[in-house]
């Protein structure tokens, strides 16, 4: 028993984690300096995890989180020197009809799904092995860029959920059970899940993609909280902060460093 408690504590601490996995186009260099970025309707959803493990959407938390994420995104992009427009409605662009924005969003959603399937869910395509991120939104995106004058489009989706009191209580029970021979400490609490894709509007290509997962096996322990400005800034930084350049660009940089 003396051994069990610290082991359990260690196990529980380790089971919470933050993970990201990004892919970039081979020739991708993260945008810097004077670039123009448009963020198409960031999707944010925040909910509560019920005792039974379902996620109950919460309108008030979602609103709060959405405005925090938008503010954090703006600050972060300004720090990189870009001009950012965050589009909250499809019809707020003077030169592009709402229907066209909707079409671009739907196309991107389909491409994102494909990236998720073939890059993250293990269904790798032999034709796209070692080719970085080889996806494009095609001429639709190029025309959109020409009409609006933006260099990049960013699509962002973020979900966050928090354990209800019942869920926390269930976890406490599960841990308490360890002392009488029925151990179920990993009920699972809540977590953050977000992904973003960056599209180069001059070529139409999806140049960079990242997925963030932050969660804890312990109900009630938060790994960031989008409902707070700090938590939203942390999420944006984790997701978009360290943009990895593409392989070709990294090699060129390495070669440059090698030859003084």
């Amino acid at each position: 028993m003396r051994l069990l408690v610290p082991l359990l504590a260690a196990g529980l601490t380790l089971s919470g984690c933050v993970q990201t996995q990004q892919y970039a186009d081979l020739q991708f260099a993260p945008p810097k300096g004077n670039y123009k970025l448009i963020v198409l309707r960031p999707e944010v959803e925040v909910g509560a995890v019920t005792t039974g493990g379902m996620v109950e959407p919460r309108a008030d938390w979602t609103e709060q989180a959405r405005s925090n994420v938008i503010a954090a995104l703006r600050t972060q992009q300004e720090g990189r020197g870009g001009q950012t427009l965050i589009l909250d409605r499809r019809d707020s662009l003077p030169t592009v009809p709402a229907e066209q924005v909707a079409e671009l969003e739907r196309l991107n959603a389909a491409v994102d799904q494909s990236i998720a399937l073939h890059k993250y869910s293990g269904v790798t395509l032999p034709s796209k092995r070692r080719r970085g991120l080889d996806y494009t939104l095609g001429q639709d995106a190029v025309r959109f860029g020409q009409r609006t004058g933006y260099d990049y489009a960013l699509f962002l989706h973020a979900e966050d959920s928090f354990a209800s009191q019942g869920r926390v209580a269930l976890q406490v029970l599960g841990i308490a059970g360890c002392f009488i021979g029925f151990c179920a400490p990993n009920v699972g609490g809540a977590g953050q899940f977000a992904y973003a894709s960056l599209v180069d509007l001059r070529t139409g290509e999806v140049v960079w993609f990242n997925v963030l997962q932050a969660g804890s096996q312990v109900a009630g322990v938060k790994m960031g909280d989008l409902r707070t400005p700090d938590g939203a800034a942390q999420m944006v930084e984790r997701l978009l902060g360290r943009m990895k350049p593409g392989r070709d660009v990294r090699r060129a940089q390495a070669a440059q460093r090698a030859t003084p």
Binding site: E45, T50, G52, M54, L170, L173, I180
Partner: protein, 404 residues
């Protein structure tokens, strides 16, 4: 581990019934239901507000979908009709018509409905369509999605706690509870489906009351189910399969036959002797006239011969016309056997005697005449086809045929 002792069975059943509700529901009386939402209803609680927020986005997507049928007159007609049978929510309901050749309609928790074109094809008159729309309106009026969500939340909450406590008690007593837990889980799932079936029955009961109040024949809802049962059975018979009768503890809707029987009983209860009820057949046919060829075309192309045959014959109970005869021919021709070809030829021959026949009927009539060796009649039919559809994609080909 897979063997269940009598005691675990009993305990599991006990746990399941603890979570569940009542026995199989009897018919819900139309008079027993009252709408829970009034005009201009807004969400009340956090869970409902969360649901509405998500649905706003869903509606935006649906409203902009390229599957929607644009026809403004038809959309106005549908909106007015759902308004007539929407009870206290009449002015808040929205309806979208999606081009999907399937018998279906659905209501979303914020008061917008999606109707599939396959439904419009199958309705014989306005009273039948009003019945379906009233059923959907009732889901909104009785806050079904919210109640369903809360039911699921409550039952999964109880299950989780019970399962954890059961495990602990078993652990302390040195007794394996895994089997028991699986039974309780199954019990939970079954009661969730049963609750959903109960909600469907509620929507039928309030729906029939709504159409009765609007002056439509209450029996029309039972007729719709009768038609659907007939279609499913013929479709299965032609495919040489057994029809899925939907009798399952895992079904999320009541079995169609049960619904039909309940609706008939409710209709008998509501129908006032001597009163004449509106069927709105002419009005309905006028409203869908523009898309009826498309509806039939989409159905026939599903290549579900039994269903197509049943639908066309049911519609023809109100009288044959060139359009129905032509699509009867198409459905038979697509079965692609000599016997059915002969019947298809008869359908096309019958079709061309109606003034409203589509030009395509003349082409097929001509082709079948040629096959039967009637050269001159065939040429005449094909010339008629070219005269009616000079710009058809295959017109040059037909001209070539005639020239040779």
């Amino acid at each position: 581990m897979t063997t269940f002792t009598r005691r675990t069975m009993l305990a599991g059943a006990g746990a399941a019934s603890l979570l569940g509700g009542t026995v199989a529901p009897a018919r819900i009386l139309p008079s027993s239901l009252m709408p829970l939402v009034g005009p201009g209803y807004r969400p009340q609680d956090p869970d409902e507000r969360g649901m509405w927020q998500q649905m706003t986005r869903v509606e935006e997507e649906i409203a902009g979908s390229n599957l929607l049928v644009a026809d403004p007159a038809l959309n106005t007609y549908l909106r007015r009709l759902i308004g007539k049978v929407g009870g206290p929510a009449t002015s808040d309901l929205r309806v979208y018509l999606a081009r999907i050749p399937e018998f279906n309609a659905m209501m979303f928790p914020t008061g917008f409905a999606v109707v599939f074109t396959g439904l419009l094809l199958r309705m014989r008159d306005e009273a039948q369509l009003a019945g379906v729309l009233a059923h959907e309106s009732s889901h909104f009026l009785l806050k079904h999605q919210l109640r369903q969500w809360r039911d699921t939340r409550r039952k999964t909450d109880i299950y989780s706690f019970a399962s954890m406590l059961g495990g602990m008690v078993g652990g302390a007593a040195g007794y394996y509870t895994g089997n028991l837990d699986q039974l309780a889980q199954l019990g939970t799932i079954i009661t969730l489906f049963r609750y959903n079936r109960q909600l469907e029955a509620e929507a039928d009961a309030l729906g029939i009351k709504l159409i009765n109040d609007a002056g439509y024949a209450p029996l029309s809802m039972a007729e719709t189910w009768e038609q659907l049962i007939g279609e499913v059975e013929l479709s299965a018979a032609v495919r040489r399969k057994r029809p899925d009768r939907g009798y399952s503890i895992f079904a999320d809707h009541p079995a169609p036959r049960e619904r039909m029987i309940d609706l008939r009983a409710s209709a008998a209860e509501l129908t006032a002797p001597g009163k004449t009820y509106a069927r709105g057949r002419e009005r309905y046919l006028a409203a869908i006239a523009g898309i009826r060829p498309t509806l039939l075309d989409d159905q026939v192309k599903l290549n579900d011969a039994g269903a197509s045959q049943y639908v066309i014959q049911t519609l023809a109970k109100d009288g044959w016309n060139g359009l129905l005869r032509f699509y009867e021919g198409e459905s038979l021709r697509l079965r692609n056997t000599a016997a059915y070809d002969a019947r298809a030829a008869l359908s096309y021959a019958a079709a061309v005697s109606y003034p409203d026949v589509p030009a395509d009927a003349w082409r097929w009539h001509g082709i079948y005449l040629a096959k039967a060796g009637h050269r001159e009649e065939s040429r005449a039919a094909l010339q008629r086809y070219l005269a009616l559809a000079p710009a058809a994609p295959d017109a040059p080909f037909v001209r070539q045929m005639l020239a040779s």
